[in-house]
């Protein structure tokens, strides 16, 4: 193997598939050989069948839909406030000086710890779930966007001034288009973060959602359902991420040129 030398496309795919095969083989061995008791770990096949049944007979599609809606809803709420605030902070340093220390601190407040407070403040309905996601995403996103906008190329801003732009023109025609690809990228990353909070949000006071299904499966020791639920979240997260990336690449194709 030579250092840092890329591998060919075909071998790359083959190797990647190989790991998945290896992983499923190990899992099968553990669960089928009896090395691990049956109710500790469902077999891959059983998990697949259960996963299928969840969708086919137990209305899991609705749960998945609810989960997606909560994540996306909370995330959109966060984005709707964080994007303009972050841009204002990035562009106008006094605004940044005002909010930045607080937001920097708030970013470390664990969203999951707010759950008991949120039950008191906003109840146990959808608002609570959206708020958990919101808290988990908002501060991080605001900071990232402020950073991105702060990084606007000064030479482009100056060029715009020498071409006759005023401040508002510079923001509209230079700062925003220049920061857009990175902001979209930040949104994508933070959406990924949102997925990690949804289970916590759905642990409490939910009557649907993937997290709720996982809780429900516990009594039956249905590890097949639990694993299927985890994998489905993983897949949905991965899919949303890939889709977001594709949209970004499409919208900001100029930023990918080299």
């Amino acid at each position: 193997m030579k250092l840092l030398v890329p591998v060919k496309r075909e071998s790359r795919i083959a190797l990647g598939v190989a790991f998945f095969i290896f992983f499923v083989a190990l899992w099968s061995f553990l669960s089928l050989s009896g090395a691990v008791p049956k109710h500790f770990l469902a077999t891959p096949w059983q998990t697949l069948v259960s996963g299928w049944n969840l969708f086919a007979t137990q209305g899991f599609t609705h749960d998945v839909g609810m989960t997606i809606w909560r994540v996306v809803g909370g995330f959109v709420l966060a984005a709707v406030i964080a994007v303009p605030l972050g841009i204002a902070m990035g562009v106008y340093k006094p605004i940044e000086a005002f909010f930045e220390p607080f937001v920097s601190f708030a970013r470390y407040l664990p969203a999951s710890a707010f759950v008991p407070l949120l039950i008191l403040w906003v109840g146990i309905g959808e608002a609570q779930k959206l708020t958990v996601i919101f808290i988990g995403c908002f501060f991080q996103l605001t900071l990232m966007i402020a950073m991105i906008v702060s990084g606007t190329r000064r030479d482009l801003v100056e060029a715009a001034y020498t071409l006759g732009c005023k401040d508002s023109g510079v923001i509209r025609r230079v700062v925003l288009p220049g920061a857009a690809p990175e902001i979209a990228e930040a949104l994508r990353q933070v959406l990924g973060l949102g997925w990690t909070y949804i289970i916590v949000a759905e642990l409490i006071g939910a009557s649907s959602g993937i997290g709720h299904m996982i809780t429900d499966s516990q009594a039956l020791m249905a590890t097949d359902h639990i694993i299927a639920g985890i994998v489905v979240i993983g897949l949905v997260g991965l899919l949303s991420d890939v889709a977001f990336k594709k949209v970004n690449q499409h919208l900001f194709s100029w930023s990918l040129l080299r």
Partner: protein, 295 residues
């Protein structure tokens, strides 16, 4: 050499004698090194399966659920019986169980007692879980959410959390409790493996419980202080919480395991099967308990 035992319980007032036995040194005196783990009912069997817990206190129907779903456990003695210290609280405009139709009700996850309680009470009133909108909430947050929010029409909870509702009569009241519907029994049990390997310790666990009950009789104030402290209540608050609880002594135990439990188990298993918490009834319900040690 004290025998190490880890016991899983919850904050339910009925389990307080276990805390008392530990805090007052009764276990220690009986040669036991006990660790108490507060762990939600919905997770307790998982912890037993992992081997981190050898024993647990829980409601009687849960042993059916656990055994049916692959976690072998055996009850050793009954601890208490709900005498109205758990039940369904509802908004003041809901006066009877039948009014719950179509309402939003909070209960803990399937496989726990509040879930079972709701199913049981609904069934007695000719309804089923499908007739209400079920929201998963553990008893403590359920009580919280009920008194502070508007999302819930009703909630299943128990002492000491019922006191939250008691303190705020304007938010709602108890519409059905375990006195009207005698179906909440708590018992203590361990894994068959532990029982087989440590018969002495099992005996000591049982005796410690009865000794704790004696202590409550003898020195109420001290016992209430210790038991209250565990759930951050004063002795007075705790006294109120336990008012409707009747702990089962040796005699009550003998009576319970001689007929009462068999009848209850039969009905409970039917219901559990109906609501999908178990997939099949245990083959032999009589292996769910072992009465050797209360003798």
């Amino acid at each position: 050499q004290d025998t190490k035992v880890a016991i899983g319980i919850s904050g339910w007032t009925g389990f307080a004698p276990i805390t008392l036995a530990k805090e007052a040194g009764i276990y220690k005196a009986n040669g036991l090194d006990v660790t108490i783990k507060k762990i939600p009912q919905k997770d307790r069997h998982l912890a037993i399966a992992s081997g981190d817990l050898q024993c647990a206190a829980t409601t009687v129907e849960t042993w059916i659920v656990w055994n049916a779903n692959g976690i072998a456990t055996t009850q050793l003695f009954k601890m208490d019986q709900g005498m109205g210290s758990d039940g369904i609280v509802a908004r003041n405009d809901i006066t009877k169980v039948a009014d719950l139709k179509g309402k939003t009700v909070a209960a803990s996850a399937p496989g726990t007692n509040p879930h079972f309680t709701l199913a049981w009470i609904l069934k007695k009133n000719g309804m089923s879980l499908k007739d209400v909108k079920l929201v998963t909430l553990e008893p403590a947050p359920a009580a919280n959410a009920f008194v502070t929010g508007k999302d819930l029409d009703a909630a299943v909870t128990y002492e000491p959390y019922l006191s939250l509702v008691r303190d705020k009569p304007e938010t709602g009241k108890l519409i059905a409790d375990s006195l009207q519907y005698p179906m909440v029994f708590d018992s203590f049990g361990c894994t068959p493996k532990f029982i087989k390997e440590n018969p002495k310790a099992v005996k000591a666990l049982t005796e410690s419980y009865f000794q704790a009950l004696e202590m409550i009789e003898k020195d109420k104030q001290k016992a209430f202080t210790i038991m209250g402290a565990d759930v951050k209540q004063t002795a007075e608050q705790f006294e109120k919480s336990q008012a409707k609880i009747k702990w089962a002594d040796r005699e009550a135990n003998k009576k319970f395991f001689n007929g009462e439990i068999q009848a209850f188990n039969k009905e409970a298993a039917e219901l559990l099967l109906e609501i999908g918490v178990i997939k099949a009834k245990p083959d032999n319900m009589d292996t769910l308990f072992d009465t050797t040690y209360i003798k």
